[in-house]
């Protein structure tokens, strides 16, 4: 089960009102390599993970991804909340606005709605952990693109924190893969 803690994982600071940047950051709210995909992917894979280390890491990283999803939603919200219509019109956020107003919504930067087709759960721990490691690297790459397009120092600071978490998660999934491989080998040859 889960219990909500009334705090963000990272002290989010947003220095400007910038609907165009908000539209790009939605990539990580509802895009294929975004935080929602990550959370649902890892939490869905837990039932068929054979080792306790693996069950723990999927639970804890999956939970952290939901905290990151909240951070992304907060970035988007703070970038648009004070924007008058005149500052939204003509930006990529205008298409979002006519459907969702200023509410964050899980679609990618291009407006494609989130789908479970972005994730996989194979009941095969080797396949799943490779998917998870790839997902972390793809998310890292996305954060690097977002940092390049961000012209808001506060937003860039938070994006750098989130990028760093992808690196740590990749490391932990790699260790989990090694542990699971050893476990499977020992079962085969004993």
């Amino acid at each position: 089960m889960w219990i909500y803690e009334k705090k963000l994982q990272y002290p989010v600071r947003v220095d400007t009102t910038n609907p165009a940047l908000a539209a790009m950051i939605l990539e990580q709210f509802g895009g294929p390599d975004g935080e929602l995909s990550a959370g649902i992917r890892y939490l869905s894979q837990r039932w068929t993970m054979p080792t306790n280390q693996g069950k723990a890491i999927l639970t804890d990283i999956g939970t952290e991804e939901l905290a990151h999803w909240e951070i992304i939603g907060t970035l988007v919200w703070r970038l648009v909340k004070d924007a008058p219509l005149s500052q939204i019109k003509g930006t990529p956020f205008e298409a979002h606005y006519v459907n969702h107003g200023k509410s964050p919504f899980p679609h990618n930067a291009g407006g494609q709605a989130w789908t479970a087709g972005y994730i996989q759960s194979k009941a095969d721990p080797i396949a799943d952990l490779h998917e998870d490691m790839a997902a972390e690297e793809k998310a890292r790459a996305t954060y690097e693109y977002l940092i390049r397009v961000s012209d808001d120092p506060g937003v860039s600071d938070t994006l750098r924190f989130l990028r760093e978490r992808e690196v740590v998660h990749f490391q932990r999934f790699g260790e989990t893969l090694r542990i699971v491989q050893e476990y499977m080998d020992s079962k085969k040859y004993y």
């Binding site: 963000l8 002290p11 952290e64």
Partner: protein, 81 residues
């Protein structure tokens, strides 16, 4: 606010040490760091809740129910950190 920031810092330390321990359960030094942070977190959480109300809906509250009080996490702009 300073209280909340310290709480967030120690909480993040716990996230990081827990992930590490998930794949290194026999690292005694890391476990000691985690346990120290865990103890500090409990203290901070109690102090925070006594002053600002429940951090979780399982927490104790003065009358009336303070869990609903703002600002909610996404409403705070952490400008000075």
């Amino acid at each position: 606010m300073d209280f909340l920031i310290e709480l967030m810092e120690v909480s993040f330390m716990l996230v990081e040490s827990a992930l590490y321990l998930d794949t290194h359960p026999n690292d005694e030094r890391a476990l000691r760091l985690h346990n120290n942070a865990s103890q500090r977190y409990t203290e901070l959480e109690n102090m925070y809740q006594a002053r600002y109300g429940p951090l979780k809906n399982t927490g104790m509250s003065k009358y009336p129910w303070g869990y609903i009080d703002g600002p909610w996490p996404w409403e705070i702009n952490f400008t000075n950190f």
